[in-house]
């Protein structure tokens, strides 16, 4: 009730218009603090007078702004300095923002460098794997063509399969020799011959009547061994010789022999 009467008295309108003396102004301010509705009414009155003033606005001559700025902020030169000074906070923020940005970009750089590095590592690993596979595939292809050659050779129409058996000194040994009568090429399956030490080698000899032909040295291993062609052969014999082979067979160490049976 007190607030309502106060509002309706018209004192707030005079306060907002600057027409009250000090005592009356103090009273209005006290009432506005005490009653929110008084404060709200006062604010509405002030807002309407503000709009009223805006409608009555008259643009002042442009040079006044400069005059005021000169008085408040000094002449143009010191104004520039004062702008800098006043903008210190802005620059502080700008510097802080830059630092944060720098940190973020550094982190991103490290992060992506790490990623790139690991990608590069993976790539080089894959490259190595690819190279190995490629090499292996080439080996397989070479091997396959080698095996094809061998197969073609041992299954050839003119190829003789000669079984060489162990002598009394080397019982139970079994070696197979394939001899192409047409091309004179020789392939050998070392069978169950034991592995020789590095200083020694097996040597194959092709014999025909009293002729003895050196067909090359070998050591025991899986698969077929290609030896030197022999122009003639009736009997094959294997001896143990020193590494590098011998010109003539060591008859004391004949391991196995066998005759071509037509």
């Amino acid at each position: 009730m007190e607030a309502k009467e106060f509002i309706e008295s018209g004192i707030l309108e005079l306060y907002a218009s600057g027409a009250l003396d000090k005592n009356e102004r103090d009273e209005v301010e006290l009432m506005a603090k005490k009653f929110p509705e008084v404060a709200a009414e006062l604010n509405a009155i002030q807002l309407s007078l503000e709009k009223h003033s805006m409608l009555h606005a008259i643009t002042p001559p442009t040079e006044i702004k400069e005059k005021i700025q000169k008085e408040l902020f000094g002449n143009l030169k010191s104004e520039a300095i004062s702008v800098n000074h006043n903008n210190t906070r802005f620059y502080q923020y700008a510097v802080a923002a830059s630092v944060v940005l720098l940190m973020l970009s550094s982190f991103a750089a490290f992060y992506f460098a790490g990623k790139l590095n690991s990608a590069e590592n993976q790539l080089s690993l894959l490259q190595t794997q690819y190279d190995t596979l490629n090499k292996n595939m080439n080996l397989v292809i070479a091997n396959q063509s080698h095996l094809t050659d061998e197969m073609n050779m041992i299954n050839g129409m003119h190829t003789m399969k000669v079984k060489l058996s162990g002598t009394e000194k080397h019982p139970g040994m079994e070696v197979l020799v394939y001899y192409d009568m047409e091309t004179k090429n020789i392939m050998l399956d070392s069978g169950n011959l034991p592995q020789l030490p590095d200083s020694l080698r097996y040597q194959l000899w092709a014999m025909m009547d009293d002729k003895i032909i050196d067909a090359g040295t070998f050591n025991s291993k899986l698969g077929l061994i290609k030896l030197r062609p022999a122009s003639e052969a009736d009997v094959f014999a294997i001896t143990i010789e020193k590494q590098g082979g011998s010109a003539t067979p060591n008859y004391d160490e004949v391991v196995a022999n066998g005759k071509i049976s037509i």
Partner: protein, 179 residues
């Protein structure tokens, strides 16, 4: 002339004391303040001086502004009104100024505005036309001329108690019209 930032933000901006906040304040309020000053002193040169004095005082005394006592514009316009009245009453200004035939209902400035009509005053013209004459007269005397209650009662030949109620009714109509 419209405010672009809310009042509480403007207050914070002004408290930083940065020149940019002065620029904002000047750009948005100088014309409204100058309009009031010019209506009181009715002399462009004197009004420019008062405007400068007002902005210097507003800027230097901003720390004294108390937002709980009212809007920032009310505070500023009160400073400008007081300085303009001081100027009008100063001995020097009285001697210097031409003897104007003061019409209290519509000021010399507003008559000038009405003859040199400009588009930005369309709102004002509409407002003035819509307001009851007795309301626009009292609003003009108290708000734009800075008359006290006693001065207004004497000028309008009405009882002192009527000043308050008529001023209240004038502003109630203003609130309706400026909604």
């Amino acid at each position: 002339m419209t405010k672009k930032i809310p009042e509480d933000e403007l207050i914070l901006l002004l408290r930083t004391g940065e020149q940019s906040s002065f620029t904002y304040l000047y750009e948005n309020y100088s014309a409204a303040i100058y309009g009031l000053i010019l209506r009181i002193v009715e002399d462009e040169e004197a009004a420019a001086d008062v405007l400068q004095e007002s902005f210097v005082k507003i800027w230097k005394n901003f720390s004294m502004y108390d937002s709980s006592k009212g809007r920032i514009f009310t505070w500023m316009i009160n400073i400008a009104r007081n300085l303009a009245i001081d100027k009008l009453r100063s001995k020097y200004f009285k001697q210097d100024s031409k003897n104007l035939n003061l019409d209290t209902s519509v000021s010399h400035i507003d008559r000038k505005l009405q003859t040199n009509f400009r588009p930005e005053h369309i709102g004002l013209k509409q407002l003035v036309q819509k307001m009851k004459p007795e309301f626009s007269v009292i609003l003009n005397l108290i708000y734009f001329k800075g008359y006290t209650q006693a001065e207004t009662a004497e000028e309008l030949q009405i009882p002192l108690g009527t000043v308050k109620t008529r001023m209240r009714n004038a502003i109630i109509q203003l609130r309706e019209l400026t909604k």
